[in-house]
Symmetry: C2
Subunit: 370 residues, 2 copies
């Protein structure tokens, strides 16, 4: 395995170094909007089988890269592998979201929780990372990921998805000690999990705090951000690869976390993800040169036509503006791509980001040479 990456635009942007174009990848880029994904999934028999089979996980990870000139691959996996490895009994009822057979709601259940050894019960994920790295052959970098300690806790306490987070918020307000204990275990588990992904070859890691934005101001800092920060501090991002020392950068994305952007940017990550409610120019001003910024096209733009995709992609690029010393933009959606997305619209998006961001840099360069 070599550390060299043919297209390292994404990694350079994460280090806030100059790039020739704005790198672009899409959350959930390997997914149900692609007919080839659905074919592989059908062969796997179920979503969980697909996640747990390294060869098939590799196959679907590479599918969007065969179609589009994306600047990064992201490990195909589920956000709930960690609580599954804790023995909570993850299952998917057809047509419904994920559920746990044994939700964590009382003192006894909390006392039993322990961080799993990622090289044992989550070995299939590490195998997938190694398989994908090898199949990528250094074409683009591979992103590893995990849910945040709080987001994992939401599923663990609710026993599945929720629209009001009644169970976990009741615990948060009534028994904060229990929730803190769950989050301590989760922080350890997520740090171990991401460290194992880094050891297996992940070239960047992302923490998805999908539900932190459901918390009240104050509760977010104490129950979500504090534990994300703990994970970031426990990471071992330096690795030797082919005799070269590489540092694996980190991205934190809190959906609906725009009001807390400065605090998230100060948590010790290399990039912050923002959703489409945030103005990227404002985000850039607030974050300064502490982090790169990743985002933030509304995925529903991809439902419209090619022309509208182009126009809205330009708006996002213009709203961030030309990169400058210490300021870098990674183009992405503000949330996962919808299963109803016409695949050819994604092509237009990726092409537009590459072309227009090159033009922006040329204009910037000629303006500065005047």
């Amino acid at each position: 395995m070599t550390a060299a990456v043919a297209n390292d635009t994404f990694l350079r942007a994460l280090r806030r170094e100059p790039t020739e174009h704005t790198p672009v990848w899409l959350m959930r880029q390997a997914g149900r909007y692609l007919p080839e994904y659905n074919a592989t999934r059908a062969r796997a028999g179920s979503f969980l089988n697909l996640c747990k089979n390294p060869e098939l996980a590799c196959e679907v990870t590479l599918q969007p890269l065969a179609r589009y000139p994306l600047d990064a691959a992201i490990l195909f996996s589920d956000i709930l592998t960690v609580p599954d490895a804790m023995g909570l009994g993850l299952y998917f009822a057809e047509g419904e979201g994920p559920r746990f057979e044994r939700p964590v709601r009382d003192e006894a259940a909390v006392a039993q929780l322990a961080a799993p050894d990622p090289n044992q019960s989550l070995r299939y994920v590490m195998d997938a990372v190694r398989t994908i790295r090898s199949a990528l052959g250094g074409k683009v970098p591979l992103i590893g990921f995990s849910g945040s300690p709080f987001t994992l806790a939401c599923y663990m306490v609710e026993g599945g998805g929720s629209d009001d987070f009644r169970q976990i918020k009741t615990m948060l307000y009534r028994r904060p000690d229990l929730l803190h204990r769950i989050l301590e275990v989760n922080a350890q588990a997520v740090a171990d999990y991401l460290n194992a992904q880094i050891e297996a070859g992940a070239q960047a890691v992302m923490i998805f705090d999908s539900w932190g934005g459901a918390l009240a101001d104050g509760a977010f800092q104490a129950f979500s951000l504090a534990y994300t920060r703990r994970v970031l501090r426990a990471l071992r991002p330096e690795r030797e690869e082919g005799g070269v020392k590489v540092r694996v950068p980190t991205i934190v994305f809190t959906k609906g976390g725009g009001l807390w952007l400065e605090q998230i940017a100060g948590a010790g990550c290399d990039a912050v993800g923002v959703d489409w409610t945030m103005n990227l120019g404002q985000a850039r001003a607030l974050v300064g040169d502490r982090c790169a910024i990743q985002g933030n096209l509304d995925p529903m733009v991809l439902m419209a036509g090619h022309e509208q995709v182009r126009a809205q992609a330009l708006k996002v690029l213009e709203s961030f503006g030309p990169p400058s010393a210490g300021h870098a933009h990674i183009f992405n959606l503000g949330h996962g791509i919808s299963q109803f997305t016409p695949p050819d619209h994604v092509h237009t998006l990726v092409e537009t980001v590459h072309q227009y961001s090159r033009e922006m840099r040329r204009r910037g360069a000629s303006a500065s040479s005047l």
Copy 2:
């Protein structure tokens, strides 16, 4: 009908005049968490029957006031009365949310839309306002309300609730002309509806922009806030009552709109509602003396115990701080109360807000007399 209100704390706070305590009311305060509400609803036969029967709507409006010393009553009605009056065929499938038989998705459906005469097809709402005003006997003021033009359009285009707003966002990006036309009709309809409620006796009116927060920055301003502003400009808030001229104040609440707070506060309303993700101290600094601020306890706090309700209510009051010239706080939740709320916790909340906000004022007064 007299203009005098025995407890006008809420109205004075909306005018940013000094008050002896922080007024408190709760979104959806008349609702399923109250056994007496469920009894009335069972008698009505259905939710829509309850909304359309002025006597029963009055009965449930008054129920929370009989239990708690709330500082305002809010008209019991549904957010979808206006599109129902447009002929879209509102119905409620048991266990599901509201649905429309005829969603508005194409040119032909949009061309047929027209603002209904509120004193014809929505006469039952005006009858409810008159009945409630009379039954209240000036005890506390009555709030009238409507969904925002954009929020109504979400239901009209989606045909019901949605978690990705795929239909309306596809229209927004692909055929903005169609959506603008719907929003123009809705703005007229909402203004007419609120003006009729004001004429019937509503003493404050609130616009619920429940889904504006789902929009991208830029789209929110163009497709939600612009039309809320249009409604505010079309209101006739001055009314003669018992020989006295009264001005009916306005509240705008955009769930998830914290990033746009300053822009909403500049829209021409008397108060802005904020959800629990917003820090009230920051909100106060951003809004300045342009508006009162309403909010923002997480409704899930009410799931915990009396002690936790007290502690979190204090946090909200302290986070706004003592009122001062031009700065007023109206205590509320950051969203509607949950049907699972234990009713006695609400009592603790209302008492705490009243008592502690009086203490805050006393402390403030003795500090300033030093």
